[in-house]
Symmetry: C2
Subunit: 255 residues, 2 copies
DNA sequence: CGGTAAATTGACTGCTCTCAATTTACGTGG
DNA sequence: CCACGTAAATTGAGAGCAGTCAATTTACCG
């Protein structure tokens, strides 16, 4: 009576390791002199905006695997990612986990707290070392009240998140597993900051939680892609993707 | 060489019927005296805001099946839905179609045009008769520039869209088909305005484009649910759902 | 009442899940 | 630097779920 094909065993990844070598406090953020402010949430705010903050903004470094915040919590803080990559993870009704977004430098997360009474909608977990500024909600709200440009920036970022979510549905939630893996690899290449279409592969469990399959299926497909030279090993965990061939996979049709 | 299991034939639904008994112009919108304004995008704007609109806002009725706008186009208009339901549809890279959202009264669509240079990201198609107000982009931008409350409302709606997109990924894009159908039915019941958990079933092709399966699979699962009385026929196309039992399906686990 | 589109159902293929056994990778401590 | 132990990745075997093709029935519109 344990017959094969249980419904969602493949969603129930092992509990999140909180190796969490504790978050490292880098220092008070220096928004006024931030050298990448033009890419960040606070673009367009005048320097004077940072003179009398309600609560200070901290700059923190999160090691790979650490948790910025968890679904259902409310830390009263929004995070502005300076560098590194974060996975946004949700629980499924049957106890599984699903990654709904990958976000990197320039993105802001936890914006849902801006709507009153809200809690975090996802767990945010660092994939590699993440450098982020932690903006207290109170600070955010008071800036938002005073500077209308900020709401425009928030709107722009929400729209980007929405675009990514839709792309996620269309490319990573549709079709056979091989096609979804190809889409994911192309996405990683696109998000990557490295030259030459080089990407650091995610762990198998993460990839499975992204495309909604078992880890074994992911492993088999990756093995096949490596065998067929669509993925060439550059170094440990790092591979060079054949973009043209991967794109061809995503477009394969019948008839 | 036509062997079974082609990659995405099931995504290629027949071309959208544009029966489109033409959109009916109901009249100039009377925002100032709109009896549901408190539910709409323009909540919180003072009456005076509507005195000198750059371009007039029209109130239109769209019959089932008609197209409000199409992916890639740019009609320079945002739509505020008063009643009825709209499906937001995207093309997949291999020529298929996927529905990424269902939206009803109170929602605003086409907000992506607020970011300069953008085109519609989806095709918006009426599922039943839709009553909507068509807000010219120029009007929207000038109101947005003058009244900061409007950006807050836009932000709130984008956040709602994002929440729905994430829910879509987690509940409709994950797990075996039966579970996804159960989630979809519960969603329809939730969105429905009828009493008694009664819902009007979508066409099979639409349901397939929502959960990402073939129409045949949808049909088989629905037949099974009807047989097992989780769906009781009320009238043509209208069924009463057994919410408890459907929820149980969504939570089924192994182990 | 006839004609077309949609829904249903069956047969069959094959993709992907589960279970299980290795193998590989990696951090720890000697 | 190597040995060890644990976690992750790989691979195989078997079974179930879902896609395709095709035939039929039902629904709906004129």
């Amino acid at each position: 009576m344990t017959a094969g094909y249980g419904t969602l065993g493949y969603m129930k990844s092992s509990p999140q390791r909180t190796f969490c070598t504790d978050t490292q406090w880098v220092g008070r953020a220096h928004c006024k002199h931030c050298n990448i402010r033009h890419l960040m949430l606070f673009t367009g705010l005048p320097d004077a905006a940072f003179d009398d903050l309600l609560q200070p903004i901290d700059n923190c470094s999160f090691p790979a695997g650490s948790v910025l915040f968890e679904e259902g919590q409310n830390n009263e803080a929004i995070f502005s990612i300076r560098s590194g990559m974060v996975k946004m993870m949700s629980l499924t009704p049957d106890g599984g986990r699903r990654i709904v977004r990958l976000l990197g430098g320039g993105s802001a997360i936890g914006l849902e707290l801006l709507e009153p009474g809200n809690r975090y909608r996802h767990s945010a977990i660092a994939i590699n070392t993440v450098d982020a500024c932690q903006i207290p909600l109170a600070t955010m709200l008071s800036l938002d009240a005073e500077y209308p440009q900020l709401c425009q920036q928030v709107r722009k970022r929400l729209q980007e998140h929405l675009d990514r979510a839709d792309q996620w549905i269309v490319t990573l939630g549709t079709g056979p597993a091989r096609k979804r893996v190809a889409h994911l690899l192309l996405l990683m290449i696109e998000y990557s900051t490295r030259p030459n279409n080089d990407i650091e592969l995610l762990g198998g469990e993460d990839m499975a939680a992204i495309i909604g399959t078992s880890t074994e299926t992911v492993s088999r497909i990756l093995a096949d892609l490596k065998r067929r030279r669509l993925l060439e090993k550059v170094s440990t965990h790092t591979y060079r993707g054949d973009v043209t061939a991967l794109r061809a996979i995503t477009r394969e049709m019948v008839r």
